[in-house]
Amino acid sequence: MSDEVIWTYASQVTLEDSGASGASDVFIAANDDTLESGVHSNFPLADFVLKADFGAAVAAGSVVNLYRQDLNIDSTNDAPAPATTYKHLFVGSFVIPTGTSATGYYPLTDVPLVADQQFSIENKTDQNISAGWDLKATPKTYEPAA
């Protein structure tokens, strides 16, 4: 068989490597790398992984939210950065197991991409996110099978 639609993946990109700590409700940009067409090859979706640990055991219902800030949307002008007063564009949540404090790896899949963007996380656990968190993204798209 050939020409059926299959997933194909680009190389995983490190958007933040060893991020700073952040208190509960704080936004932190993953700004080691932006996800632009030269990096994501215009693949329309990406699977994200957050590596994080917390200052103490998190309560039930804890999440880390992911936001996309679109860049260079009118020449070199960017959309506003996400913040507590501008919760846009929310693209999903990393769900943290109740009682976790040690390092874990959390997936968020099928996030839509545009030409150029930067991602930020919002710590919606009740504990500090520890310094050293990572955010990685694997661009993905469909292609016809060989």
């Binding site: 068989m1 059926e4 639609v5 299959i6 197991p97 874990g104 959390y106 099928d110």
Partner: protein, 152 residues
């Protein structure tokens, strides 16, 4: 007509052949060792249709169901996402509704759950949200599916 979008299916994969019994509210992995379900098995097809064969140790109440969860594995090097559990009901991908009153001495029934998104590598788990324990020898199978252009 030709080249219209049609479904095409890969071979059905056995994710669990003879699972152990599961208490009410218990979780269990469909974990045949060779079937942490990677791209070399599902060929990077984006979706799958699931079939659950299952029976219960006594007759179940109305509104009984079995939940299906996907645990993404090897997401950052060899590191996996947390396994689904009672304190981590993630990532829920769907439910198999169970016929009221089945169980006990009855024969297993077969339940369908379709169009579940799949990714590069994952393992699936079931959660027993029926009112009775799952009997041993349940099985979970998946048929990868995708679109293709119809032949000219």
């Amino acid at each position: 007509m030709a080249e219209e979008i049609v479904w095409t299916y890969a071979s059905q994969v056995v994710l669990e052949g003879t699972g152990a019994s599961i208490a009410v509210n218990g979780f269990q992995a469909a974990d045949l060792s060779e079937l942490t379900w990677r791209s070399d098995i599902h060929s990077n097809y984006p979706w799958a249709d699931f079939a659950l064969r299952i029976d219960f140790q006594a007759a179940v109440d109305g509104n009984s169901f079995i939940n299906l969860y996907r645990q993404d594995v090897e997401i950052d090097g060899d590191n996996d996402a947390p396994a689904p559990a009672a304190t981590y009901t993630y990532k829920f991908v769907g439910s198999f509704p169970i016929i009221s009153g089945v169980g006990g001495a009855s024969s297993p029934n077969y339940y369908s759950l379709t169009d579940i998104p799949i990714k590069y590598a994952q393992q699936f788990w079931i959660e027993n949200k029926a009112s009775q324990a799952v009997d041993h020898s349940w099985s979970l199978k998946a048929t990868p599916k995708t679109y293709m252009p119809a032949p000219k």
